[in-house]
Subunit: 540 residues, 2 copies
């Protein structure tokens, strides 16, 4: 225990110093600096051509204890900035949703670039809700098993060993830290503030008649034992994550001033990072990066070798496989399934998807046809527009299968080739995507990915056929011909993508699609394989 306390004390000492330095700024100067930074951040969003700054936003996470001055601090901030440009969201902590990474449900609330947002609770509230349930249940469980609480039941279903909250906390914190780093790398900068008070102050405040309890993490803050457990959890959390600013809420007014100073500094840091954006700085950075090594193109992408299949045989096999797939999907026990389709134009994504969904009830799935992002999507981290389309337990009552026709891999395909993303951005994206998919799989989502491979000659034939077929003409655009001119770039990009993102959690299936019928069967086979494996894993 002594080691923990040491760490904390050192931290406090450092802060006290930092704070006293900042506090030299008087109130009026602070207000002006806050408003100035606020408008400067907003201005990074502007699209005028001369603006070379990266659009940048700031997300302020506010967490910690009940009655530790959080509300006062944010009220103070809102008084000192232009309140209309400061978004505030709040959650109190709830059992994390099944089959979703803890952060997913919160992504809809994330600030647009150019915005500053204060987010009380956030994903840490859900995490703490869960950990506190585990940590305070240990003793109870030794007595009688009266787990009528549906949340507890949920936890048990998720095979989390009750009582081992330390392991659970550690694992989740690691994932959240990675998620937050990806946010920051995508210009959603973070400031994490942890408010705390000692137990006596807390009890005194809770006993004040005027107080309005927040029910944070849904725990009983009046119980000393619970608060002690909470402090134990908090210590473990703060020890693992060293990017929290600790704010002492003993004096609420001082805490508020401290908080406002931290927000100012975070805004200024965010602004500075938005200015590193000039193409010169960017290219300097690229030079410093390890040189990107393209992989050798595998034969499966060049020699598309697939066998023809007799029409009757095809229809019989199709019906069988569709029935098997439908059966597996229905036996998935509520788990989410995400299908990702990539491939050259005219490789048959649409046809394959059609056969995939044919046996399903139309209420069960969503198909997302991914094109160029809209402006408001560009004003968020790259993956945001996919995070917010994933099946969501909270809002999708029935539809928990998502099919993406083109996907987040656009970053390392079209955006790389067309120069829509800087080298730094698309090269970084391989890891971001791997982390994203790993998080999904860790939460129980089944991720099934396809690259539909076609050769250049077959594509030409299909383009020409489309031109001649009335109900297929819509499918052919000028873009398709332009992309065709960059055939070899696409093949190289696909090869790099397949090599770098073929993970154990979410392996790629490369499907030869010169022969459409066989290709459709192969797509179904891979889905059946992946589902069988995923579902047998959970049973064992």
């Amino acid at each position: 225990m002594s080691k923990q306390e040491d760490t904390t004390e050192t931290k406090e000492a450092q802060e006290a110093q930092a704070v006293s330095k900042q506090f030299s700024m008087d109130k009026d100067a602070l207000r002006l600096a806050l408003v100035t930074a606020q408008f400067a951040l907003r201005a990074t969003r502007q699209q005028s051509p001369k603006n070379t700054n990266k659009p940048t936003g700031l997300l302020v996470l506010v967490n910690g204890m009940e009655q530790a001055g959080k509300g006062t601090a944010v009220t103070q901030l809102r008084q000192w900035v232009d309140p209309r440009l400061l978004k505030v969201e709040a959650t109190i902590g709830d059992c994390p949703l099944e089959y979703q990474p803890i952060w997913q449900v919160h992504t809809k609330a994330l600030p647009r670039h150019g915005d500053v947002m204060v987010y009380f609770g956030n994903w840490y509230a859900d995490l703490l809700y869960n950990v506190m349930r585990m940590a305070t249940q240990e003793d109870e469980d030794n007595d009688v098993k009266k787990s009528e609480d549906k949340h507890n039941k949920k936890l048990k279903n998720k095979t989390l060993p009750i009582g081992q909250w330390q392991d659970y906390l550690k694992k989740e914190l690691t994932k959240l830290q990675a998620f937050e780093q990806d946010l920051a790398a995508n210009q959603t900068k973070l400031l994490k503030c942890w408010f705390r008070v000692d137990i006596d102050t807390l009890q005194a405040r809770l006993n004040d008649d005027e107080v309005e309890p927040e029910f944070l993490y849904q725990i009983d803050w009046k119980s000393k034992q619970v608060v002690e457990t909470f402090n134990e959890v908090a210590t473990a959390l703060l020890r693992q994550q060293n990017d929290w600013i600790i704010i002492d809420g003993a004096d609420k007014s001082q805490a508020a001033t401290h908080f406002c100073h931290e927000v100012l500094q975070a805004m200024q840091t965010a602004l500075a990072s938005s200015k590193e954006a000039s193409s010169k700085a960017e290219s300097e950075k690229s030079k410093k990066m390890t040189k990107f090594e393209p992989v050798k193109i595998p034969q499966t992408l060049i020699n598309i070798d697939d066998s023809e299949i007799d029409k009757d045989k095809y229809h019989k096999a199709l019906a069988d496989k569709q029935a098997r797939l439908a059966e597996l999907l229905r036996a998935r026990q509520g788990r989410h399934v995400v299908f990702a389709f990539e491939g050259m134009d005219a490789a048959g994504k649409g046809g394959a998807i059609k056969r995939l969904v044919a046996p399903l009830d139309p209420r069960e799935y969503q198909i997302y046809n991914i094109g160029a992002p809209m402006l408001y999507e560009l004003q968020h981290p790259y993956l945001w527009r996919f995070w917010t389309k994933l099946p969501n337990e909270q809002t999708d009552r029935i539809s928990r299968i998502a099919i993406f026709d083109r996907t987040w891999y656009g970053r390392v395909l079209v955006e790389r080739i067309e120069g829509l993303a800087t080298d730094n951005k698309w090269q970084r994206a391989y890891d971001e995507i791997n982390r994203f998919e790993a998080d999904l799989v860790a939460a129980g989502t089944i991720v099934i990915k396809y690259w539909l491979a076609i050769d250049k000659k077959e594509q030409l034939e299909r383009f020409e056929a489309r031109e001649d077929t009335p109900h297929k003409q819509f499918k052919l655009t000028d873009d398709d011909w332009r992309n065709r001119d960059k055939w070899s770039d696409y093949v190289q990009s696909a090869a790099d993508m397949l090599a770098r993102t073929n993970t154990k959690d979410a392996p790629w299936a490369i499907i030869a699609t010169n022969e459409k019928r066989q290709a459709r069967l192969d797509v179904l086979d891979h889905a059946i394989d992946q589902l069988s494996t995923a579902l047998s894993n959970i049973e064992s």
Copy 2:
């Protein structure tokens, strides 16, 4: 009863005719027509300058009975169109959320213009859920009052007289019909399909082992008595709303073909309406409209007559009123509150809002700073971007107070003056807005509206002061000077707006704001008045 049946039979006869006519189209022709219409609708969204079509979408509501072939029909449609461009959403019916119009929770799912969306369940499922609870509870209530069901309790709290489902249904249907007309007028066209089968077929299908029940409206479809009650409710619904297409689900395959034909026709009608958009047609239409009569400008907008107030007195009064306001807001028993601020530039909206929120916890409210709409917002009905910002019981756990700094009245102010909306659009908007606010108020939301009045001389002084004050310079833009040049247009538009939208449900307060301090007190006074009235109404 006989009259009802007559109506229904006549309807069926008409349809049988219509259907047989359409069914002459063979399968391939139907598929081609569907895909063609689908892509043509999508093309209305394109922003290319030569495109004079109105962006138009189609929302297909799918309702009716359980096991009546709805799933089969939509599966068929999805096979015949490009499935990637057909969105499908589904709900099964739930207790409508408190303090929100029934449609509100569904607005996030509405299709963008250019999309076709099939929506199973939708707002009618919630309505039917409620009505069925009321209709099947009559008998129970005569026995013992064992209302442990939390939904029943909710209904009772809402002072709905149990058993009088007819009145409730009628009222809600009227509101929904108006809402749907506003959707259609704003280019979200509707097709409403009602699937049904006779009781024997239903029972036979439910007894099939293969069947997967939908739990539609959360009622017991195996009970003959419940189904009879449902049929009674359905008859009342269909009698009141004559825009439903009745689809007989006795033969699922025929029902599917019928459905696809109806969707095709609705897409073609939507397309035709999108083409009426040439400026010529538009101006023809305007000519036919009753000529718009501007109102006489009231003195309160011209002679801004407000008294100065001593600084000490002001601070004392401010603190008192803020305390009273906070007290009232806390006593509002969960009801939502919507503040709407309009007024000339520099009239003090920001300052007034700042004083309004000062006594509130920052978690309780959201401030929305309304500017020009984004592209995806323009691809929805005009009011959509406000519908989706209203407090929402489902997602806003804590924040149920929304403050709009500029509002939906932009349609009849800036959009009218700058020609951003056609005459037809902004003149129609008065009624649309009145209906919107009336719906909110009927659901228990408290709507508080302000026009902050300033005179032209005072505005100039404030503009100049802003130029000179470092932390206020951001507030002044070129737009502000341009708007100032159109001062008299704004005054006239404000006068028209105030005359046409000053309803009993949501009256305007015109606040003289030449003297800022008094203005801020007046803003608080009006909020206190409105809240006191609204809250005393509910108690009595």
